[in-house]
C-alpha cells in the first residue's frame, strides 16, 4: 500500500472515532409532563427489567403494570425486556449493568440462590425484610418459601409467582388403553415403563440439555425425599452417600425409557410427544400445562398430572421475583412496584394469565383453573423445596458444574464418574468439604 493510501485509511479511522465520540451516549430522556399539582406518592421514571417478552408472560406483566399504574399514576414505567428463554440473555445483560454500576430500578430474577449468590452476596442488593414486616407478608407467604428467599437473616426479593418443577404429565388415553395407573413411586415407574415399552410406546418424553437437568433434580427429589434433597444444597446430605448413588442409578435407568432423539427436542416438542400419544409421560414444570391447553386439551380430561415419581408431598418450587438494587434510581418508585408485586391484586392479575400460582397463600382460587387450584392446595400443604435448574437451590456456578456433569453423564452413562463429578462440584461450590 502506498503512503497516500495509509493516510487515507488513517483519516477514515479518525473520522470514525470522532463520529463515535459525537454520538449521544444515552438516548434522550422521554419528556415527562409537568405535574399540575403536588403528586401523591412516588413519581418519575421506573425501569422494570425482565425477560417476559412473549405470550402469557408478557400479557401477565402488562396486567400487573395496569394494577401498578392505577395506584401510582405519576410513575412513568419503562418496560425493559430482553428476549431469551429462562432469561439466559437477560441475565448476561443484567450482570453487565450491575457491574457497571447502572442497575435498573427493579429486575426480574429467579428467587433463591440465583439472586442471593449473584447479587446479594456481592453487596449489590438492599435487604427488604422491612417491607415484609410493614406489609404483613411474613404470615402470608409459606415459611419454607421465606427460607428459600433468605440469606444472612434477611429477605432479598419479592416472589411474584410460583411454578412447580416436579410434575409428571401423562396422556390419559394411553394409560387407559394399556390398563395402567400413573406411577407414584420410582419402582412403580419402572414397572409401568417396562409395560409401555413392550407395548411400543415411549414411556417418558425427554427434551434437550436443560430438560435433562430438570429431570435429574426431580429424580434426586423423588429418591432422597424432600429433607435430604434440601440437605444436598446445605451440605448436610453427603453427595458421596449410597442414597445419592441410588438416585443416580434411578436416573440412569430412567434414561433407558426415553425417546432416543431427545437431544433434538425442545421442552415443548417433548411435551408434544405426549399429546401425539407416542409417549406416555413427561416430567416438566407446570408451564407445560399452558402448552397442553394451547393444543386444545383440557386438564383432567385428555391429560392428567401427578407429582414426579417418588416426590409426592414435596413441592419443587421456582419463582420469579423482584428485588431492590442498591443505589436503584428512584427508590420510592421501586418500593411501590415491589408492594404491587407482593400484593394480592398484583399477583392475581399476573398469575392466571401467566399460568402460575401466586406466591401468597391467599390468592383468589376462583381465578385459577383446575390444575392450578390443585397446585395451590399442594403449595399450601406440601414441603416446599427449591428447584435446582431454575435457580432456587444453588449458585449459578454450582448449577453450571452440575449441568456439565449431567451432560457428560448422558454421553458416557458412568454412574461412578458422575457421582465423583457431583462431589467435586459441591466442594468447588464451597458447600461441602
Amino acid at each position: 500500500m502506498s503512503k497516500k493510501r495509509y493516510s487515507l485509511l488513517a483519516l477514515v479511522l479518525v473520522i470514525a472515532v470522532l463520529l463515535a465520540a459525537c454520538a449521544p451516549a444515552t438516548p434522550a430522556a422521554a419528556p415527562t409532563a409537568a405535574p399540575t399539582q403536588a403528586p401523591a406518592g412516588p413519581s418519575g421514571d421506573l425501569e422494570i427489567f425482565s425477560w417476559w417478552t412473549a405470550g402469557g408472560e408478557a400479557q401477565g406483566l402488562e396486567a400487573m403494570l395496569k394494577v401498578f399504574q392505577a395506584q401510582y399514576p405519576n410513575v412513568n414505567v419503562i418496560n425493559a425486556t430482553v428476549a431469551g428463554g429462562a432469561g439466559v440473555n437477560a441475565r448476561a445483560v443484567l450482570a453487565t449493568r450491575m457491574q457497571g454500576g447502572k442497575p435498573p430500578g427493579a429486575f426480574q430474577v429467579h428467587a433463591g440462590h440465583e439472586l442471593i449468590d449473584t447479587y446479594a452476596v456481592s453487596g449489590q442488593m438492599e435487604p427488604i425484610t422491612f417491607l415484609y414486616e410493614e406489609e404483613g407478608w411474613l404470615d402470608l407467604y409459606p415459611q419454607d418459601l421465606i427460607k428459600i428467599l433468605s440469606y444472612n437473616g434477611e429477605i432479598w426479593s419479592v416472589p411474584v409467582n410460583i411454578h412447580r418443577a416436579n410434575v409428571m404429565w401423562y396422556n390419559k388415553a394411553v394409560f387407559a388403553d394399556n390398563n395402567l395407573q400413573p406411577p407414584k413411586t420410582m419402582d412403580e415407574f419402572f414397572t409401568v415403563a417396562e409395560k409401555l415399552k413392550a407395548a411400543g410406546i415411549i414411556p417418558l418424553a425427554l427434551g434437550e440439555s436443560w430438560t435433562e437437568v430438570h429431570l435429574f433434580e426431580t429424580v434426586l427429589l423423588g429418591t432422597l425425599g424432600p429433607d435430604k434433597y434440601i440437605g444436598l444444597w446445605a451440605g448436610t446430605t453427603d453427595w458421596k452417600s449410597a442414597e445419592v448413588t441410588k438416585a443416580l442409578e434411578n436416573y440412569d435407568r430412567m434414561l433407558n425409557y426415553v425417546n432416543e432423539d431427545f437431544a433434538a427436542l425442545s421442552w415443548d416438542q417433548a411435551t408434544q410427544l405426549v399429546i401425539d400419544g407416542t409417549a406416555a409421560m413427561n416430567v416438566m414444570g407446570d408451564w407445560a400445562e399452558g402448552y397442553f391447553k394451547s393444543k386444545g386439551w383440557t386438564p383432567g380430561v385428555e391429560f392428567g398430572w401427578a407429582p414426579s415419581p417418588g416426590s409426592a408431598g414435596a413441592f419443587d418450587a421456582l419463582s420469579d421475583s423482584f428485588g431492590l438494587p442498591k443505589n436503584a434510581p428512584n427508590r420510592d418508585a421501586v418500593l411501590a412496584w415491589l408492594k404491587i408485586c407482593g400484593s394480592q391484586a398484583g399477583q392475581d392479575a399476573f398469575n392466571p394469565i401467566k399460568g402460575s400460582i401466586p406466591a401468597r397463600t391467599d390468592g383468589d382460587r376462583s381465578l385459577y383453573d383446575v390444575y392450578l387450584q390443585s397446585a395451590m392446595d399442594d403449595f399450601a400443604s406440601n414441603k416446599i423445596v427449591p428447584s435446582l435448574y431454575h435457580g432456587a437451590a444453588a449458585a449459578p456456578s454450582w448449577l453450571q458444574a452440575i449441568t456439565e456433569a449431567v451432560g457428560l453423564f448422558i454421553a458416557n452413562r458412568d454412574v461412578a464418574v458422575f457421582q465423583e463429578a457431583l462431589v467435586a462440584a459441591c466442594a468447588t461450590a464451597g458447600v461441602c468439604k
Binding site: 503512503k3 495509509y6 493516510s7 488513517a10 483519516l11 479511522l13 479518525v14 472515532v17 439466559v88 441475565r91 448476561a92 450482570a95 450491575m98 457491574q99 449468590d117 449473584t118 447479587y119 452476596v121 456481592s122 453487596g123 449489590q124 434437550e208 440439555s209 436443560w210 425417546n259 432416543e260 432423539d261 437431544a263 433434538a264 427436542l265 416438542q269 401425539d276 407416542t278 449459578p396 456456578s397 448449577l399 453450571q400 458444574a401 456439565e404 451432560g407 457428560l408 453423564f409 448422558i410 454421553a411 458416557n412 463429578a421
Partner: protein, 299 residues
Amino acid sequence: MRIRKDRLLAIALISPSVVAIAIFVYAFIAWTIRASLSSWEGLLPDYTFVGLANFTQLFRDPRFQIDLRNTGIFTVLFLVACLVVGLLLAILLDLRPRGEAVFRNVYLFPMAISFIVTGVVWRWLLNPATSLERLSGINLLFHQAGLDFLVSRWYTSRNFGIAAIVIPATWQMSGFTMALYLAGIRGIPEELREAARVDGASESQIYRYVVMPMLKTVTLSAVIILGHTSLKIFDLVMAITQEGGQGYSADVPALNMWYTAFRALRFARGAAIAIIILTTVAVLIIPYLIHTLRSEVEQ
C-alpha cells in the same frame, strides 16, 4: 521541511487508532491475563493472585478436554474442506464456463451472511431428530430419497458431532477460498501456461505443475485466515447447538468460555479459556506476521 510536515501529519492521523488499539486490544488482553490468574467468581472483581490454578484445573476438566479435541477435529476438517472445495471451484471458474460471473457471485454470497444467520438456517437443516415422524431438514430429504442409511444425528452424534458443524462452516467460507484462489490463478501470467502447452503439457498437467506451485502463498494466506476463524469459532456453534450438542459432542472452547463467564459467573476461569484461545491463535498468526514483515522489508 516539507517531509517533516508530512510526517507530523501522518503521526497525527494515525495516533487515534494507535491509542484506541492500545487500549481496546492490548490493554484488555493484559487485563484478561490478570483476571485469568485470579480467583474472580461472581460479579465483584477479585484479583487475588492464584498463579496458574485456573489453567491446571481447566486442562483436567473433562468438558475442556472434549473442547480441545473438538477444536482440533474441526480445524483440520474445516481447513481441508475449504481448501479443496475452494480450489476446485476456482479451477472450474478458471475454465471460463458460460455465466462465470453469476457463479462467482453465487459462491461468494454466503460470505456476506453472518455466522449467526447461517447457524439458524442450518440448525433447521441439520435437525438431529431421527425417529420417522419427526424427521426434518436434510434427514427428511434423505428419507424421501430412500437413503435412510444416511439419516444422521448430526451435531448430537456421539464422537464426531463437531464434524456436522464443518458442513455449514465450509458452505459459508469455501466461496471465500475460491475467490482467493481465483485471484491467484488469474495472477499467473498466461505466457507460463502457453510455454507449458508448447512443451506438450496437458491441461491437468498445467494445473498440477504450473498453477498449483504458484498458489502456495495464496494457500498460506487462506490457512491463516480460515485457521483463526476456526480456532475462535463461537457464533455458528452457538446458533446451531446452543449448549454444545449432546454430551458436549459439538462443544468448542469459545462456547465453554461464554457459559463459564456469563452464566456461571466464573470470570477467572472464563478469562483463562480466553487466554488459551488467544494463545492457540497466536501460535498460528505470529509466525505468519513475522514472515510477511520480513518479506516486506526485503522488498
